[in-house]
Amino acid sequence: MISLTSDVRTPFHTLPAGPKLLGLCLFTFAVFFLESIGGALAVTGLVGLSYLAGGVRFAFQGLRLMRPVFWVALIILAYHLAVGETAPGLVVALRLVAAVGLANLVTMTTRLDDMLAVVERLLTRVGMPQRTRHRIALAIALVIRFTPVLAEKGGALNEAWRARSVKRPGWRLVLPFALLAIDDADRVAEALKARGGEI
């Protein structure tokens, strides 16, 4: 399944995942305390520049990922303008853009495998037993494997509906859809049992 990691090689890609995530947490926490427009602008500008450091194509990918946030920020600004509180509105909007912007940057420059490795290390550090970690890894693999499969089957149900009705598919499709997931769960459980090994 395609992840949101960018295919453009940026200097950020080479940074290890753990420190990146830690930095993100601290940044998001600190951003919360920004009160001045100047500060918010500066921080947001820094995040924007970081995107440019990855190149123009990378920056455009980042913009696309940020689109929903920009809309929300616009609505926030519009509302605050209407009630005459432009300055606080600007700060709120900028804080949002900065926080989400850096978070997306980390997502775009960190491979899924590296993220998983960090999670594994963290879980080991907090003392989670190996068996549980193994189960989590297996569960993750199953979700990645089966989401496209279920989506395709859902598409087939969608087609079967459209082949007989001009109305758009309604909630009625969720029932057979869920049944497909349940039946797949049964089948995969059988397959796991058949392969043996400790679960």
Partner: protein
């Protein structure tokens, strides 16, 4: 044990797959995102513990960078947005829904699962979502509640659907909820 694992994983995949279906509309024209329906079903079908784990698994993968939220959204950025309260609320909602659903599971029918979905998926979820919005937008709880209100009628309808679907699932696979 294997079945618990696969049910959790497959329901997480189901929530993701439901995000890929375009929003369906009810007869009244209200658009409903199928994904939040999936969260409720995790509770009503899997119960509290498994349901919450399925949703956590789903969110975990979203955080790791997979575009599983409706509209192809994902990554750490979504947790920094204004809906972060709702995201955190998802597993809690599934858990609460699951608790009630488990208590009532022997009664059958659609109303009780629907009520379970209401308490978890509407009440609890919106409380957390509203708190999140209030924090993110620097507003009071009252103002944030106003923002959330337009979506409540649709959410209530979703609970009814969740109840009906759960009832349908139980009929189609007897013993499902007891497993």
């Amino acid at each position: 044990m294997e079945r618990n694992l696969t049910m959790i994983a497959l329901f997480a995949a189901l929530i993701a797959a439901l995000g890929l279906i375009p929003k369906f509309t009810l007869a009244s024209g209200v658009p409903i995102s199928a994904q939040s329906l999936g969260i409720m079903l995790c509770g009503t079908v899997l119960g509290a513990k498994r349901g919450a784990l399925a949703v956590l698994l789903f969110l975990g993968l979203v955080a790791l960078g997979l575009p599983l939220l409706a509209g192809g959204r994902g990554g750490l950025g979504v947790f920094g947005g204004v809906t972060v309260g709702y995201l955190i609320g998802f597993p809690v909602a599934a858990f609460v829904t699951g608790l009630l659903a488990q208590v009532w599971r022997d009664r059958g029918g659609w109303i009780l699962p629907a009520v379970a979905a209401l308490v978890g998926g509407v009440v609890v979820l919106n409380i957390l979502g509203i708190v999140g919005m209030a924090v993110k937008l620097d507003k009071t709880l009252a103002e944030a509640t106003l923002l959330a209100t337009p979506f409540i009628p649709g959410d209530i309808l979703k609970c009814v659907l969740a109840g009906l679907i759960t009832q349908g699932l139980q009929k189609a696979r007897p013993g499902l909820l007891q497993a």
